[in-house]
């Protein structure tokens, strides 16, 4: 193993252990490693930002592709936020970005997230190929209707609307539970990845020399 790889392993192990030390309570090592990570992340982003700006904008401009001056200048205008006096200038690139983004999104959003979803809710219900698919489609259909009624705030949730909204709330809670479970398992996977690194790569690979 190259010396730079060994240094990398040691630094990584120190940082992981420092972060995990929060388990025993807030401490110097946790705070220190957090600041180091944030500092390095910012530095990393800055260096890559300069690298890619050079590659995608400065170099083409030098070759005579002057159209790249426009995004380059717009990008530089964002930095006027660093001064109070000129901060207003940054609103132009920001406004342009928001406008373009909104224009790009809104057209297809109506189709993909509203019309197609309504269509699929009905199509799945009518075209179910198995009892399981039918049950699934019925659940989706009932869930869609009842969750929508939950967000009707212009009428008091009483009677049939109240019952529907109540059921809708149950569907929302179920979906949040699924998201939480996924989030939890994801966090476990991340922890497992760090443990794997500490035990296999650092302990067995470096400290015990591949034992």
């Amino acid at each position: 193993m190259l010396i730079q790889d060994q240094i990398g392993l040691v630094v990584s192990a120190i940082m992981i252990v420092s972060q995990l030390s929060l388990i025993v309570g807030d401490n110097f090592f946790f705070r220190w490693s957090t600041r180091v990570v944030i500092g390095f992340s910012v530095m990393h982003a800055l260096i890559w930002g300069i690298y890619w700006s050079n590659r995608y904008a400065v170099q083409p401009i030098m070759k005579g592709e002057l159209v790249w001056i426009i995004p380059f200048v717009l990008g530089l205008m964002m930095y006027t936020r660093l001064t109070k006096k000129w901060a207003w200038v940054s609103k132009y690139p920001m406004g342009l970005q928001l406008g373009v983004g909104f224009g790009v999104v809104v057209v297809s959003m109506i189709r993909s997230q509203i019309l197609d979803q309504i269509k699929m809710t009905i199509v799945d219900l009518l075209g179910a190929s198995s009892p399981y698919a039918l049950l699934n489609a019925v659940l989706v259909f009932i869930g869609s209707i009842t969750v929508t009624t939950f967000f009707f705030f212009t009428k008091e949730h009483t009677g049939l609307l109240g019952k529907s909204a109540y059921l809708g709330r149950a569907f929302i809670m179920c979906s949040i539970a699924v998201i939480w479970a996924g989030d939890y398992i994801w966090a476990m996977s991340m922890l497992a990845g760090q443990l794997q690194f500490l035990i296999r790569d650092f302990l067995f690979g470096l400290v015990l020399g591949g034992a």
Partner: protein
């Protein structure tokens, strides 16, 4: 609890020191690292569909691959990417599948250079035919929707040249996209041979750990264009994004299949026959699940015990 009152068994069950809980989890999660348990597992339908979409591509198809490499979530997503590339590399040469790949994060480009020289090393015929049968454009910052829209309409508008950073095919770096034979071939499949866009592909393999990403990609790769692009996709994601993917998943929907996190990667590894980190992570996930359920039961027993028995005492 009333001060001075002796702590009941229910209180003790419900107030275990969190450091003990962490210690239990760390021990449980470490067991498969020392000795993989090989807990039996079933490949889920979305993972099966993901695999099928890749291996059942018709001959002469073209695929666009977004190498989902984000080092901050590598433990959960790395096994998916590795198993995906191994699946792609296993596609027989005779099928003549053409590939254009890229990464959307700068650190991903660095990691890919290591991976392609080691863990996902291309087979010799692919390595020898870089530029002819496949190309990796390197880092392309396709991370927000306007860029995604431009990328879909004309890839050269976002990436003008091959910009990968590893040794394989390094002689192609800096070549304008449409001068690369594989890009030219793929561009010729669609309407305008001088434009490479999503009309030219049969499948998009991509990944993200942003849970709103399915909405974005479906908007820009499926429901945009005239005629609509409707490019079928398969997705690498993380477990908590599954509810966001499900509305778009299905045989006649934009997302044909998906792999959720390292546990899903284990299924893909079983299917492609290249066992790796995913299998270990699946074991770890199972043990973490057991420990979680144990503590959940303990917490609930504590709650109901206090509610039922301490009420009676009062």
């Amino acid at each position: 609890m009333v001060e001075g009152k002796k702590e009941s068994i229910w209180d003790k069950m419900g107030s275990i020191d969190y450091r003990i809980i962490y210690a239990v989890f760390i021990v449980m999660l470490s067991i498969p690292i020392f000795s993989p348990l090989g807990i039996p597992m079933k490949v889920s339908q979305p993972v099966q569909d993901y695999y099928n979409a890749i291996v059942n591509l018709p001959p002469d198809s073209a695929i666009l691959v977004h190498s989902f490499v984000d080092l901050s979530v590598w433990a959960d997503t790395g096994p998916i990417l590795i198993a995906t590339w191994k699946t792609i590399w296993d596609i027989a040469e005779e099928k003549n599948i053409k590939i254009i790949a890229y990464t959307s994060l700068s650190d991903g480009a660095l990691k890919m250079s290591d991976l392609l020289l080691d863990e996902i090393k291309p087979p010799q015929w692919r390595a020898d035919s870089y530029g002819e049968t496949w190309v990796d454009l390197g880092y392309i910052p396709v991370v927000n929707e306007p860029v995604q829209a431009s990328f879909a309409a004309d890839i050269t508008s976002v990436a003008a040249t091959d910009g990968h950073i590893y040794d394989v095919g390094s002689e192609w770096v800096g070549t304008p996209l449409l001068d690369i034979p594989v890009v030219k071939d793929i561009a010729a499949r669609g309407g305008d041979p001088n434009v490479i866009n999503v009309y030219d592909f049969d499948l998009y393999i991509w990944g993200s750990w942003g849970c709103t990403s399915p909405d974005q990609w479906v908007r820009q790769f499926w429901t945009t264009g005239n005629p609509l692009y409707e490019l079928p996709m398969v997705m690498m994601t993380i477990g908590n994004c599954v509810p966001n993917v499900m509305p778009y998943y299905g045989a006649d929907k934009p997302i044909l299949g998906f792999v959720p996190g390292s546990a899903g990667a284990a299924g893909l590894e079983l299917l492609c026959g290249h066992k790796g980190e995913g299998i270990v992570m699946a074991d770890i996930g199972d043990l973490a699940g057991i420990a979680t359920v144990f503590f959940l039961i303990l917490g609930n027993v504590s709650y109901w015990g206090k509610r039922l028995f301490e009420k009676e005492e009062r």
